[in-house]
Amino acid sequence: MKKLIRVLGVLVVLGIVALLAFIFVPVQRTGPATQLAADFKPAKGQGEYVMRAGDCLACHTTEGGKPFAGGRAIQSPMGAIWTTNITPDKETGIGNWTLDDFRAALYDGVTPNGTHLYPAMPYENYRKMSEEDIVALYDYFMNEVEPVSNKVEETKLAFPFNLRFGLRAWNWLAANYEPGFKPVQGQDEQFNRGKYLVEGAGHCAACHSPRNLFMAQDGIDDTSKAFLTGGEIDGYSAPDLRGNNSASQKWTTEQMAAYLSTARNAHSTATGEMMLVVRDSLQYMTKEDNMAIATYLKTISGGQLLKQAPPIEVTETEKMLTEAKADMPLGPRLYLDNCGGCHFVTGKGAPEIFPELDGNSLVTAKSPKGLISVILHGAELPSTADRPMKLRMQGYDNRLSDEEISALATFLREGWNNQAPAVSAADVKAVRDLPKH
């Protein structure tokens, strides 16, 4: 709370400054990053592909709603931010927008009437997108998306966040870099393609980078040390993608690419938010692009495959579980009664189907919220072209009490080679009490 108040205070001050600036300085809209040839036409399918890369559909569509018609509530501590209708409907959508208007929304977070978008829209990252992709995406929305008349609820945040001009000041801090993408000289095309997708349309940093004092992403590219070193969204941890023991270090690039395109690989499966990203976005990327992303992540995490402990070693945890003594403690007992069938006494699961729990970033995450949520409610992998099976884990909310889940989760976080702090029954209750859809 304290932190929030502090942040609020800073924002209020900035807001006042911005208000003054607003009076004297007209809104600047960024132009194209590069000038395209006059006859430039995006390739067939390019616009839809960019949409998938940017995962526009996920936020701008409601549960069971028409594609891109908006109206999904993005929860924030200041209130709900309602996503807008981005179909080419002229009344309620973006049908009247010019390419310059469209670019300004992606680069500057500004609508044609000068209103600032809340940075739930990741224009901090989209600002990296190339002019070719912007044009292709614009073309897609104008010509391939069905117009839908849908007036979405207006976002009304609590004071002072309802004063959108405050965002102008925020933008000076967060999105004031040169637009477009600059490939790194000396790196190959694959690396630069991966970097472009990660930093730009893919907006990976929106979740995987920490946020600074002003709630802006702490670095929007790999020149910043904090970039992709792990973030938190609504109390769920998004893992570090470049530091010690990160998946980028431990997995081969092929394994990382498989994870991106199928939500599963030899080590792990995607849960929660990441599962949705695979379902809605990454599974539509070409194999080459997912390999490019994997290569980029491997490179910025040190470029080596982390030498892992020899797998033959039998942990004390495995020994205890195998013995199955009648008087074993509650945590491991619950593991045998609920989890061992798939994840086994080794905690290693099985490739592409039962994720490893030993060394799993969800299990050992700083915030246990994701782990608790999976134990309570289960998980589901999306059907993808290469791995069509909708693998599901069932939830245990009916079978296990808060105390039992705290003992189980604590065991998981301390078992095998894991070392993460214990989980309390209150932690479990907090997740159990969250409203469901």
Binding site: G64, G272, A407
Partner: protein, 234 residues
């Protein structure tokens, strides 16, 4: 677009308030479940479908089919009568899944399966008074009032069909015995196998269903007690 089924929405972007910091220990927690409140005593139990006299018969009969003395729980400690009452009140008792259209040939060879027009509940309802009447004629009292030794004799006569029960009721002893064993060994959520005592007695681990690491532990007894479908541990 859908979020993960059953999961709270996570499409959020700004940092929420600081996570709670409570910490729990692990090592000292015993593996026993929180004690469930004891269910209502059998003498106080209100049957779903059995009448008081039927209930009295079932209580008395199962107490002889799986008696309480000796090692292991008896049918009474396992609350088998509750199981039978609930089964007879449900789909099984009504033969809901079975083909019950006529014509019926109840006197057909037993090898030809269930051919009575009656469902299991009706068989209990009609066979109990018949058997009680036979007990009264033969042994002077209805079954529930006989002493244990005479009850055993009477049940043996029933099993051997010495009283020539009607063909429609022919399977009574068979289903009574089968239902008793079902109630003894089924998951506790059906009302019997109270406390999983019957599973503990024979060494069945219940609904654990996870033994990969034990396949090659040949000829070595498995030590861990059972777990039920609802998660009770013993």
């Amino acid at each position: 677009m859908r979020d993960v089924p059953g999961l709270p929405s996570r499409r959020t972007f700004l940092k929420a308030s600081a996570a709670s910091a409570a910490i729990a220990g692990i090592a000292a927690v015993p593996a026993k479940a929180e004690q469930k409140p004891e269910p209502v005593a059998l003498t106080e139990y209100k049957p779903d479908c059995l009448t008081p006299s039927e209930w009295a018969f079932v209580m008395a009969a199962v107490a002889r089919l799986i008696p309480s003395d000796g090692e292991g729980p008896g049918a009474i400690e396992a609350r088998v009568p509750v199981f039978i009452d609930k089964q007879l009140a449900g789909d099984y008792g009504r033969a809901a899944d079975w083909y019950m259209q006529g014509p019926h040939d109840a006197a057909a060879s037993p090898l030809r399966g269930w051919q009575t027009p009656l469902n299991p509940l009706q068989i209990y309802q009609q066979a109990i008074p018949f058997f009680d009447a036979w007990c009264k004629t033969t042994h002077g009292k209805i079954f529930a009032e006989l002493d244990a030794e005479t009850q055993d004799k009477a049940l043996t006569s029933l099993q051997k069909d010495e009283m020539k029960i009607a063909p429609e009721l022919r399977d009574f002893f068979t289903i009574l015995l089968a239902n008793t064993k079902e109630g003894y060994f089924a998951d506790p959520m059906y009302g019997g196998n109270h406390g999983m005592e019957a599973w503990k007695y024979i060494g069945f681990p219940g609904a654990r269903g996870s033994y990969k690491e034990w396949v090659l532990k040949h000829n070595k007894p498995y030590p861990l007690g059972p777990v039920s479908i609802s998660g009770e541990r013993a």
